[in-house]
Amino acid sequence: MYELLLEPMPWYIAGPLIGLTLPLLLIIGNKTFGISTSFQHMCAAVLPKKFPYFNYDWWKQGKWQLQLSFGILLGGVLAAFFIPEDYVIDLSTSTIATLQENGISNFNGFVPIEVFNWENLASLPGFFILVVGGFLIGFGTRYAGGCTSGHAITGLATLQKASLIAVIGFFVGGIISTYFILPNLFN
Protein backbone atom coordinates (compact mmCIF):
# COMPACT_ATOMS: atom_id res chain seq x y z
CA MET A 1 0.00 0.00 0.00
CA TYR A 2 2.75 2.43 0.99
CA GLU A 3 4.67 1.65 -2.20
CA LEU A 4 1.53 2.35 -4.23
CA LEU A 5 0.99 5.70 -2.50
CA LEU A 6 4.49 6.77 -3.53
CA GLU A 7 3.58 6.36 -7.20
CA PRO A 8 2.05 9.27 -9.13
CA MET A 9 -1.72 8.96 -9.51
CA PRO A 10 -2.69 8.35 -13.17
CA TRP A 11 -5.09 10.82 -14.79
CA TYR A 12 -7.86 8.23 -15.26
CA ILE A 13 -8.04 7.70 -11.50
CA ALA A 14 -7.51 11.32 -10.40
CA GLY A 15 -10.01 12.81 -12.88
CA PRO A 16 -13.04 10.73 -11.83
CA LEU A 17 -12.18 11.26 -8.13
CA ILE A 18 -12.00 15.02 -8.68
CA GLY A 19 -15.30 14.85 -10.58
CA LEU A 20 -16.93 13.09 -7.63
CA THR A 21 -16.28 16.17 -5.51
CA LEU A 22 -19.17 17.89 -7.29
CA PRO A 23 -21.96 15.40 -6.32
CA LEU A 24 -20.26 14.79 -2.96
CA LEU A 25 -20.48 18.46 -1.90
CA LEU A 26 -24.08 18.64 -3.09
CA ILE A 27 -25.00 15.62 -1.01
CA ILE A 28 -23.06 16.42 2.17
CA GLY A 29 -24.10 20.05 2.35
CA ASN A 30 -26.07 21.21 -0.70
CA LYS A 31 -23.01 23.20 -1.79
CA THR A 32 -22.03 23.95 -5.38
CA PHE A 33 -18.34 23.17 -5.91
CA GLY A 34 -16.07 26.18 -6.42
CA ILE A 35 -12.85 27.29 -4.77
CA SER A 36 -12.09 30.85 -5.90
CA THR A 37 -15.06 32.26 -3.95
CA SER A 38 -12.94 31.58 -0.85
CA PHE A 39 -10.91 34.68 -1.88
CA GLN A 40 -14.08 36.77 -1.84
CA HIS A 41 -14.95 35.56 1.67
CA MET A 42 -11.48 36.49 2.99
CA CYS A 43 -11.87 39.96 1.47
CA ALA A 44 -15.41 40.33 2.81
CA ALA A 45 -14.03 39.60 6.30
CA VAL A 46 -11.82 42.70 6.26
CA LEU A 47 -12.98 45.11 3.55
CA PRO A 48 -15.73 47.74 4.04
CA LYS A 49 -19.35 46.72 3.48
CA LYS A 50 -20.04 49.84 1.42
CA PHE A 51 -18.97 47.73 -1.56
CA PRO A 52 -21.89 45.44 -2.45
CA TYR A 53 -19.44 42.63 -3.28
CA PHE A 54 -18.39 42.40 0.37
CA ASN A 55 -21.77 43.17 1.92
CA TYR A 56 -22.90 39.76 3.15
CA ASP A 57 -22.37 37.49 6.13
CA TRP A 58 -19.00 36.07 5.01
CA TRP A 59 -18.81 33.57 7.87
CA LYS A 60 -22.33 32.23 7.48
CA GLN A 61 -22.12 31.94 3.70
CA GLY A 62 -18.43 31.26 3.36
CA LYS A 63 -17.51 29.01 6.26
CA TRP A 64 -17.84 25.84 4.20
CA GLN A 65 -15.60 27.16 1.42
CA LEU A 66 -12.98 28.39 3.86
CA GLN A 67 -13.04 24.97 5.54
CA LEU A 68 -12.75 23.28 2.15
CA SER A 69 -9.74 25.48 1.29
CA PHE A 70 -8.11 24.75 4.64
CA GLY A 71 -8.74 21.06 3.96
CA ILE A 72 -7.01 21.31 0.58
CA LEU A 73 -3.99 22.78 2.35
CA LEU A 74 -4.07 19.88 4.84
CA GLY A 75 -4.31 17.45 1.93
CA GLY A 76 -1.08 18.98 0.65
CA VAL A 77 0.57 18.45 4.05
CA LEU A 78 -0.54 14.81 4.02
CA ALA A 79 0.50 14.19 0.40
CA ALA A 80 4.00 15.51 1.10
CA PHE A 81 4.66 12.35 3.15
CA PHE A 82 4.16 10.31 -0.01
CA ILE A 83 6.41 12.28 -2.33
CA PRO A 84 9.86 10.71 -2.72
CA GLU A 85 12.89 12.98 -2.20
CA ASP A 86 14.11 12.73 -5.81
CA TYR A 87 10.67 13.21 -7.42
CA VAL A 88 10.72 14.07 -11.11
CA ILE A 89 7.54 14.41 -13.18
CA ASP A 90 7.36 12.28 -16.30
CA LEU A 91 6.79 15.17 -18.71
CA SER A 92 6.56 14.88 -22.48
CA THR A 93 9.96 15.30 -24.15
CA SER A 94 8.55 18.08 -26.30
CA THR A 95 7.53 20.12 -23.23
CA ILE A 96 10.96 19.61 -21.66
CA ALA A 97 12.62 20.80 -24.88
CA THR A 98 10.41 23.91 -25.08
CA LEU A 99 10.97 24.81 -21.44
CA GLN A 100 14.74 24.31 -21.82
CA GLU A 101 14.70 26.71 -24.76
CA ASN A 102 12.90 29.14 -22.49
CA GLY A 103 15.68 28.88 -19.93
CA ILE A 104 14.41 26.27 -17.45
CA SER A 105 17.09 23.76 -16.46
CA ASN A 106 15.93 22.20 -13.18
CA PHE A 107 13.10 19.71 -13.63
CA ASN A 108 13.12 18.26 -10.10
CA GLY A 109 9.98 18.41 -7.98
CA PHE A 110 6.62 19.98 -8.85
CA VAL A 111 7.76 23.46 -9.86
CA PRO A 112 11.00 24.92 -11.26
CA ILE A 113 12.93 25.91 -8.14
CA GLU A 114 14.95 28.48 -10.13
CA VAL A 115 11.72 30.46 -10.65
CA PHE A 116 9.82 29.70 -7.46
CA ASN A 117 12.19 30.83 -4.70
CA TRP A 118 12.22 33.80 -2.33
CA GLU A 119 15.34 35.44 -3.82
CA ASN A 120 13.73 35.45 -7.25
CA LEU A 121 10.85 37.50 -5.89
CA ALA A 122 13.12 40.56 -6.12
CA SER A 123 13.85 39.96 -9.82
CA LEU A 124 11.56 41.30 -12.53
CA PRO A 125 10.53 37.88 -13.96
CA GLY A 126 10.07 36.47 -10.46
CA PHE A 127 7.92 39.38 -9.34
CA PHE A 128 5.90 39.24 -12.54
CA ILE A 129 5.17 35.52 -12.18
CA LEU A 130 4.53 35.40 -8.45
CA VAL A 131 2.84 38.74 -7.76
CA VAL A 132 1.30 39.84 -11.07
CA GLY A 133 0.37 36.23 -11.92
CA GLY A 134 -1.18 35.71 -8.49
CA PHE A 135 -3.10 38.99 -8.72
CA LEU A 136 -4.53 37.94 -12.10
CA ILE A 137 -5.66 34.61 -10.64
CA GLY A 138 -7.72 36.37 -7.96
CA PHE A 139 -8.93 39.28 -10.08
CA GLY A 140 -9.71 37.11 -13.12
CA THR A 141 -11.51 34.29 -11.30
CA ARG A 142 -13.70 36.71 -9.38
CA TYR A 143 -14.41 38.78 -12.48
CA ALA A 144 -15.35 35.59 -14.33
CA GLY A 145 -17.25 34.25 -11.31
CA GLY A 146 -15.33 30.98 -11.10
CA CYS A 147 -12.08 29.12 -11.66
CA THR A 148 -11.18 25.63 -12.84
CA SER A 149 -13.42 24.00 -10.23
CA GLY A 150 -16.42 26.34 -10.55
CA HIS A 151 -16.42 26.83 -14.31
CA ALA A 152 -14.36 24.09 -16.01
CA ILE A 153 -15.66 21.26 -13.83
CA THR A 154 -18.97 22.32 -12.23
CA GLY A 155 -20.12 24.67 -14.99
CA LEU A 156 -19.30 22.35 -17.89
CA ALA A 157 -20.69 19.29 -16.06
CA THR A 158 -23.97 21.19 -15.70
CA LEU A 159 -23.84 22.34 -19.35
CA GLN A 160 -23.79 26.08 -18.72
CA LYS A 161 -23.03 28.49 -21.56
CA ALA A 162 -21.35 30.94 -19.18
CA SER A 163 -18.78 28.34 -18.18
CA LEU A 164 -18.00 27.35 -21.75
CA ILE A 165 -17.23 31.01 -22.54
CA ALA A 166 -15.15 31.32 -19.36
CA VAL A 167 -13.13 28.17 -20.13
CA ILE A 168 -12.42 29.43 -23.67
CA GLY A 169 -11.22 32.62 -21.98
CA PHE A 170 -8.97 30.58 -19.63
CA PHE A 171 -7.30 29.07 -22.68
CA VAL A 172 -6.96 32.37 -24.54
CA GLY A 173 -5.13 33.83 -21.55
CA GLY A 174 -3.13 30.67 -20.86
CA ILE A 175 -1.93 30.40 -24.44
CA ILE A 176 -0.85 34.06 -24.48
CA SER A 177 1.18 33.53 -21.29
CA THR A 178 2.70 30.23 -22.44
CA TYR A 179 3.60 31.15 -26.00
CA PHE A 180 4.28 34.89 -25.79
CA ILE A 181 4.96 36.05 -22.23
CA LEU A 182 6.91 33.26 -20.51
CA PRO A 183 9.48 32.72 -23.37
CA ASN A 184 10.34 36.43 -23.28
CA LEU A 185 10.41 36.59 -19.50
CA PHE A 186 13.33 34.19 -19.04
CA ASN A 187 15.45 35.13 -22.07
Binding site: I89, L136, G138, A144, T148, S149
Partner: protein, 135 residues
Amino acid sequence: MRFILAGTVFGFILIKSEVVSWFRIQEMFLFDSIHMYGIIGSAIVVGLIGTMLIKKFNIKDTSGNEISIKLKDNSLTKRYIIGGSLFGLGWALVGACPGPLYALIGSGYLIFIVPLIAAIIGAGTYGMLQGKLPH
Protein backbone atom coordinates in the same frame (compact mmCIF):
# COMPACT_ATOMS: atom_id res chain seq x y z
CA MET B 1 -15.59 19.16 9.70
CA ARG B 2 -16.98 17.30 6.66
CA PHE B 3 -15.82 20.12 4.36
CA ILE B 4 -12.33 20.03 5.86
CA LEU B 5 -12.27 16.29 5.24
CA ALA B 6 -13.55 16.64 1.65
CA GLY B 7 -10.91 19.31 1.05
CA THR B 8 -8.17 17.10 2.49
CA VAL B 9 -9.00 14.27 0.11
CA PHE B 10 -9.23 16.72 -2.79
CA GLY B 11 -5.90 18.39 -1.94
CA PHE B 12 -4.20 15.00 -1.59
CA ILE B 13 -5.39 14.04 -5.08
CA LEU B 14 -4.30 17.40 -6.56
CA ILE B 15 -0.73 16.74 -5.38
CA LYS B 16 -0.54 13.02 -6.16
CA SER B 17 -1.92 13.53 -9.69
CA GLU B 18 0.57 16.38 -10.32
CA VAL B 19 -2.24 18.85 -11.13
CA VAL B 20 -0.41 21.30 -8.87
CA SER B 21 2.69 21.20 -11.03
CA TRP B 22 3.77 24.27 -13.01
CA PHE B 23 5.41 21.84 -15.45
CA ARG B 24 2.11 20.02 -16.03
CA ILE B 25 0.28 23.31 -16.68
CA GLN B 26 2.89 24.35 -19.25
CA GLU B 27 2.55 20.92 -20.86
CA MET B 28 -1.22 21.41 -21.02
CA PHE B 29 -1.04 24.84 -22.67
CA LEU B 30 1.62 23.50 -25.07
CA PHE B 31 -0.82 20.67 -25.98
CA ASP B 32 1.92 18.09 -25.43
CA SER B 33 0.17 15.53 -23.22
CA ILE B 34 -3.22 14.08 -22.42
CA HIS B 35 -2.55 14.25 -18.66
CA MET B 36 -4.39 17.48 -17.71
CA TYR B 37 -7.07 17.10 -20.40
CA GLY B 38 -7.73 13.55 -19.22
CA ILE B 39 -8.13 14.74 -15.63
CA ILE B 40 -10.38 17.70 -16.38
CA GLY B 41 -12.32 15.80 -19.06
CA SER B 42 -13.02 12.73 -16.95
CA ALA B 43 -13.87 14.95 -13.96
CA ILE B 44 -16.50 16.70 -16.10
CA VAL B 45 -17.99 13.39 -17.26
CA VAL B 46 -18.20 12.03 -13.70
CA GLY B 47 -19.62 15.34 -12.45
CA LEU B 48 -22.21 15.31 -15.24
CA ILE B 49 -23.30 11.74 -14.48
CA GLY B 50 -23.34 12.46 -10.75
CA THR B 51 -25.55 15.53 -11.03
CA MET B 52 -27.82 13.75 -13.53
CA LEU B 53 -28.32 10.87 -11.10
CA ILE B 54 -29.07 13.31 -8.27
CA LYS B 55 -31.80 14.91 -10.41
CA LYS B 56 -33.15 11.65 -11.85
CA PHE B 57 -33.55 9.94 -8.49
CA ASN B 58 -34.37 13.18 -6.68
CA ILE B 59 -31.60 12.47 -4.16
CA LYS B 60 -31.73 14.70 -1.06
CA ASP B 61 -28.77 16.10 0.83
CA THR B 62 -27.77 14.61 4.19
CA SER B 63 -30.14 16.98 6.03
CA GLY B 64 -33.02 15.82 3.84
CA ASN B 65 -33.27 19.00 1.76
CA GLU B 66 -33.88 19.25 -1.98
CA ILE B 67 -30.50 19.62 -3.72
CA SER B 68 -30.10 22.82 -5.70
CA ILE B 69 -27.13 23.67 -7.91
CA LYS B 70 -26.14 27.32 -7.86
CA LEU B 71 -26.07 28.39 -11.51
CA LYS B 72 -23.93 31.07 -13.14
CA ASP B 73 -25.60 34.10 -14.70
CA ASN B 74 -25.89 32.72 -18.23
CA SER B 75 -27.27 35.97 -19.65
CA LEU B 76 -23.87 37.70 -19.42
CA THR B 77 -20.84 37.19 -21.68
CA LYS B 78 -18.28 40.01 -21.19
CA ARG B 79 -17.32 39.05 -17.67
CA TYR B 80 -16.59 35.47 -18.74
CA ILE B 81 -14.47 36.48 -21.73
CA ILE B 82 -12.49 39.22 -19.98
CA GLY B 83 -12.32 37.70 -16.51
CA GLY B 84 -11.66 34.25 -17.92
CA SER B 85 -8.78 35.47 -20.09
CA LEU B 86 -7.22 37.42 -17.21
CA PHE B 87 -7.37 34.31 -15.03
CA GLY B 88 -5.88 32.26 -17.87
CA LEU B 89 -2.90 34.62 -18.06
CA GLY B 90 -2.28 34.15 -14.34
CA TRP B 91 -2.93 30.40 -14.42
CA ALA B 92 -0.15 29.78 -16.95
CA LEU B 93 2.29 32.20 -15.27
CA VAL B 94 1.92 30.77 -11.76
CA GLY B 95 1.16 27.27 -13.02
CA ALA B 96 -1.61 26.92 -10.46
CA CYS B 97 -5.29 27.71 -10.11
CA PRO B 98 -6.86 28.48 -6.71
CA GLY B 99 -7.12 24.89 -5.36
CA PRO B 100 -3.49 24.02 -6.16
CA LEU B 101 -2.30 27.26 -4.50
CA TYR B 102 -3.59 25.95 -1.16
CA ALA B 103 -2.30 22.42 -1.78
CA LEU B 104 1.18 23.60 -2.78
CA ILE B 105 1.55 25.69 0.38
CA GLY B 106 0.51 22.66 2.44
CA SER B 107 2.97 20.39 0.68
CA GLY B 108 5.85 22.67 1.65
CA TYR B 109 6.23 25.04 -1.32
CA LEU B 110 5.82 28.04 0.98
CA ILE B 111 6.73 30.53 -1.76
CA PHE B 112 3.17 30.04 -3.05
CA ILE B 113 1.99 32.14 -0.10
CA VAL B 114 3.03 35.08 -2.34
CA PRO B 115 0.70 34.33 -5.27
CA LEU B 116 -2.05 33.37 -2.79
CA ILE B 117 -1.87 36.75 -1.05
CA ALA B 118 -1.66 38.47 -4.44
CA ALA B 119 -4.76 36.53 -5.55
CA ILE B 120 -6.70 37.61 -2.45
CA ILE B 121 -5.68 41.22 -3.15
CA GLY B 122 -6.76 40.69 -6.77
CA ALA B 123 -10.17 39.45 -5.62
CA GLY B 124 -10.50 42.46 -3.31
CA THR B 125 -9.56 44.81 -6.15
CA TYR B 126 -12.24 43.23 -8.32
CA GLY B 127 -14.79 43.65 -5.53
CA MET B 128 -14.02 47.35 -5.21
CA LEU B 129 -14.07 47.98 -8.97
CA GLN B 130 -17.03 45.71 -9.72
CA GLY B 131 -19.49 48.54 -10.38
CA LYS B 132 -17.15 50.16 -12.92
CA LEU B 133 -16.27 47.05 -14.93
CA PRO B 134 -18.17 45.76 -17.98
CA HIS B 135 -20.06 42.56 -17.26
